[in-house]
Amino acid sequence: MVLSGWEAVFFWVFSIAALFTGLLMIMARNAVHSALFLISTLVSVAALFVLAGAEFVAGAQVLVYIGGVMVLFLFVIMLVNVGAEERGRGQLFNSSAQVTATALLGLLLAIGLVYAINQGVKGLNEPNRRSDEMAGQRTAEQQALPVSATGDMKITADTQRLGSSLYRYASLPFEIASLLLLVAIVGSVMLARTLKQEAAADDVDPEVLKEVVTTPEERAELESVSR
């Protein structure tokens, strides 16, 4: 895979944007700012997916991550109270020894990974054609794609290939993933219940309930539910 021309320009723009907003994400004081920086990182990564020719995965990333997961994160940030951190009183990072150790570990990881990648890529037998030739072939393939209804865009076969591969080679993992999502839904509903809701579901041991409920207000609340 070799990008060229405007593809290369956009590759550098989006990769630098992803790294920059990722760094800002772990350094932001306000958790809401962190979430917004993570959203920009995910958008940049989705753009990198488009550049690598994975249009469906880019769309799924935008829909699932940004439309679903990040909205969930923002809800939880606003449910729990992060006032002390926002007002600048709370300490943002762990002890300075741990931060120093992490910086050293990150530097070592960066040097090691970049060295290993540069060594390893030499072993990949990229088809030995010149890069402009390959880019020309890619453009020719894109020109041959069918035209969309409005006539000014092309329809890629990427989603079609991904779908047929998903059902042909990965149908069992697909079913397991649907089961996993079901378990996750049930689990998160179970975890986020309040004591009142648990008592209303009538599956709490009365002995345990007596130990947990101590204040008169809670007891009155419980009484009103159980009747």
């Binding site: 895979m1 997961v69 762990n94 986020a192």
Partner: protein
Amino acid sequence: MLNLFFPALVFIWQQAPGGRMSDVSNSITHPDISKFLVIGALLFIIGVAGVLTRRNIIVIFMSIELILNAANINFIAFSRYLQDTGNANAVAGQVFTVFIIVVAAAEAAIGLGIVIALYRNKETIWVDEIDLLKW
């Protein structure tokens, strides 16, 4: 001092046949698979640093999402590489990425449920104050 020497260095590099400077400019104007892998590795390191240094448990969860996305970049890059080399099942990397996105969504739902239950019981979201198992 460096400014004085730099044009000379550039000159030497450009003069060398197939020299280092032309290699560098070629790799910038024609990014290949290794650039995707390096970006993925750097995003992974940023995520690891976020997990190890932050005190806010929600930011730690967001860093984990960043780590998963860094792995996705590698899968997509190798999928494109296999497509270019004409492999039989060339979109296997994209299929795996879809599963990673599914697992990340499930993980976020469960993890945030745990955060809410934890906040309800301990009134804190700072990980160094949640030390019930430490003695």
